[in-house]
């Protein structure tokens, strides 16, 4: 069983890592991450591009995790997927808000507690922006609001009606990368990639703010973005290159 599902994931194309656009291939419904993939009649293989996100979401709904291989069962107990969904389906008061993200208006009904970060990732299915600490201490959640860099984890989505929000998905795509993204790829300016979209968004905004020419100036300009993997040297090199092209 384990081998079968691993092969399915391996067969799919991996998108370039440099904080590029997430799983928005045409045959996945963008607004509903629980959408059931279409199954080929004969082979039972999934006919659309499977990603980690869609796999886990679909697997949970189908109860596949309950039949996980022995290795997984030896770890902590997997909660019953049906029970896990119970609280999420209970009605909560929501409020309407229209958010402009990457040039497009989205009409949403949100729990007032929804942060801009969670709205982007969960409601708008744009997981390019990452949740590192959720408390404004790491910068992984950096997006642009009206062109200025902010930590999206410390702002309620409700507060951004009328703002122009830009995320990493709006900065560039794998086919048409922003020069900063291209520089990050060229200089191998990431390892796990989790801080990367925040680093890129922060650096692009910092260039608009302006900073001095030295490597120390670069570090000082983006110190609000931390990297556990320690890719700092290459991040600085990437920014120093990209600034000549922007």
């Amino acid at each position: 069983m384990a081998a079968h599902f691993t092969d399915l994931l391996d067969q799919q194309q991996e998108s370039p890592a440099a904080g590029a656009a997430p799983d928005t291939s045409p045959d996945v419904t963008p607004k509903n991450s629980d959408a059931q993939p279409q199954r080929e009649e004969s082979s039972g293989l999934l006919s659309h591009r499977v990603t980690r996100r869609s796999f886990l979401s679909q697997a949970g709904a189908a109860g596949v995790l309950a039949t996980a291989p022995p290795l997984l069962a030896a770890a902590e107990a997997v909660p019953d997927p049906a029970a896990a969904h119970h609280d999420e389906t209970a009605a909560r008061p929501t409020v309407p808000v229209t958010l402009n993200v990457n040039g497009e208006d989205h009409h949403l009904q949100l729990d007032a507690r929804t942060t801009l970060l969670d709205c982007l990732r969960e409601n708008l299915n744009m997981p390019g922006t990452k949740k590192g600490c959720d408390h404004g201490q790491c910068g992984a959640c950096t997006v642009h609001v009206n062109g200025r860099r902010v930590n999206s984890c410390l702002s309620f989505a409700m507060m951004h009606a009328g703002d122009k929000i830009t995320t990493i998905e709006g900065l560039g795509t794998p086919e048409k990368m922003h020069p900063m993204q291209a520089a990050f790829v060229e200089h191998d300016a990431y390892q796990c990639g989790y801080c990367t979209s925040g680093q890129i968004m922060s650096a692009v905004a910092a260039l608009k703010e302006g900073f001095g020419p030295t490597d120390d100036d670069v570090k000082h300009a983006v110190y609000g973005n931390i990297c556990r993997c320690g890719a700092y040297t290459n991040i600085v090199a990437a920014v120093q290159q990209a600034r000549k092209q922007i």
């Binding site: 909560r92 008061p93 409020v95 729990d111 007032a112 507690r113 942060t115 959720d134 408390h135 404004g136 201490q137 910068g139 950096t142 200025r148 860099r149 902010v150 930590n151 984890c153 410390l154 702002s155 309620f156 409700m158 507060m159 922060s202 905004a205 910092a206 703010e209 000082h220 300009a221 983006v222 110190y223 609000g224 973005n225 931390i226």
Partner: protein, 334 residues
């Protein structure tokens, strides 16, 4: 995070009317204004703040920096920290404020945080921020786990038997040295509060941090005209070079005439339960020659009443040296 109703105010009166319904403006407030949100959302996620109503005040017309006829500077409560730090008048005439702001937080946080919000920034004490622990500030009478716990970053000045939590803001220390006044609009109308009177010592009521009453809305912060011939410096010492709160800091505004200190204002950060104006240091410096001996004597005076605990005793000497260095920088010709 608890559920809450969210509203937007377009006029100050709307915000004030909503805020006035809260039984307190201090801890436990049922109505909170939100501007940048960098402190409020953080504390709501920790369930330290649990307002039933959140009023978005970002739409209020309080985001200007204006030079006043008398030479002072009036700063709107909604001016973002990054804009305030970069303002040409602030950079030229109130350098200590610009330096203090730029030493704090991160570029992203500075783009969101506002003047008013930074004034009201809460302590970073780990026990205040963790509802599993005893905290007299968060839960009056429950005790203080910091006293015999982790208090390396906490206060040595202005402490009480109930609370040793530090005020963490850099901006507040600079504003204190600049003798700023805070304009507040409330149910009773407008009033002006000198910053020296704005923050409360913990005493036996650490849950009360400022003199604000329910409904009070900070509208502006005003700086007096810069003292002629003065230079100002903010020096911040901390465990790492950036993105960290002060262990000890000093804001100094000094005027030197003929090799002596003719006028000086001193405020200390990272060591007080509120931004710590040191009239003791100022008195020790008045008319004294510009020298390390004078500065050291002033630093001794400033920290004479310090009440350190084992985990933060190092701050006594650190704060003294911080002040000596800040005074040296402020009085040395570039």
């Amino acid at each position: 995070m608890n559920e809450f109703t969210f509203e937007r105010a377009t006029l100050p009166q709307q915000a004030i009317a909503a805020g006035a319904k809260s039984p307190t403006a201090q801890l436990g407030a049922t109505v909170r204004y939100i501007a940048g949100g960098t402190n409020l959302v953080d504390l709501m996620k920790l369930n330290v703040e649990r307002p039933q109503q959140v009023v978005d005040i970002n739409g209020l017309p309080l985001d200007k920096i204006e030079k006043l006829p008398g030479g002072g500077l009036r700063i709107g409560a909604l001016v973002r920290n990054s804009d305030l730090a970069r303002d040409p008048i602030v950079v030229r005439d109130y350098a200590v404020l610009s330096q203090a702001l730029l030493s704090g937080a991160s570029p992203q946080l500075r783009n969101m945080a506002t003047t008013g919000g930074n004034l009201l920034q809460r302590t970073r004490c780990v026990y205040f921020r963790d509802t599993a622990h005893a905290c007299n500030k968060r839960n009056p009478g429950s005790g203080c786990d910091a006293m015999d716990g982790y208090h390396r970053t906490l206060a040595i000045l202005g402490t009480s038997d109930s609370c040793i939590a530090t005020n963490p803001s850099d901006m507040n220390v600079a504003l204190t040295a600049l003798e700023a006044t805070i304009q507040v609009q409330g149910v009773g109308g407008e009033r002006t509060i000198p910053i020296a009177e704005f923050f409360l010592l913990p005493g036996s009521t650490p849950q009360r941090e400022t003199v604000l009453q329910p409904g009070d809305l900070i509208t502006r912060v005003t700086l007096p005209a810069p003292a002629p011939g003065s230079r100002s410096v903010y020096l911040k010492l901390r465990d790492r070079e950036a993105y960290e709160f002060a262990l000890a800091s000093a804001a100094v505004v000094a005027t030197v005439k003929g090799g002596t200190v003719s006028r000086v204002r001193v405020a200390l950060g990272g060591v007080g339960t509120r931004p710590w104006r040191s009239t003791e240091a100022e008195a020790a410096l008045a008319g004294k020659p510009v020298s390390s001996a004078s500065f050291r004597a002033a630093a001794e005076a400033a920290l004479r009443d310090a009440s350190p605990r084992t985990g933060n005793a190092f701050k006594v000497e650190l704060s003294k040296r911080c002040l000596v260095r800040a005074l040296t920088l402020a009085t040395t010709q570039a």
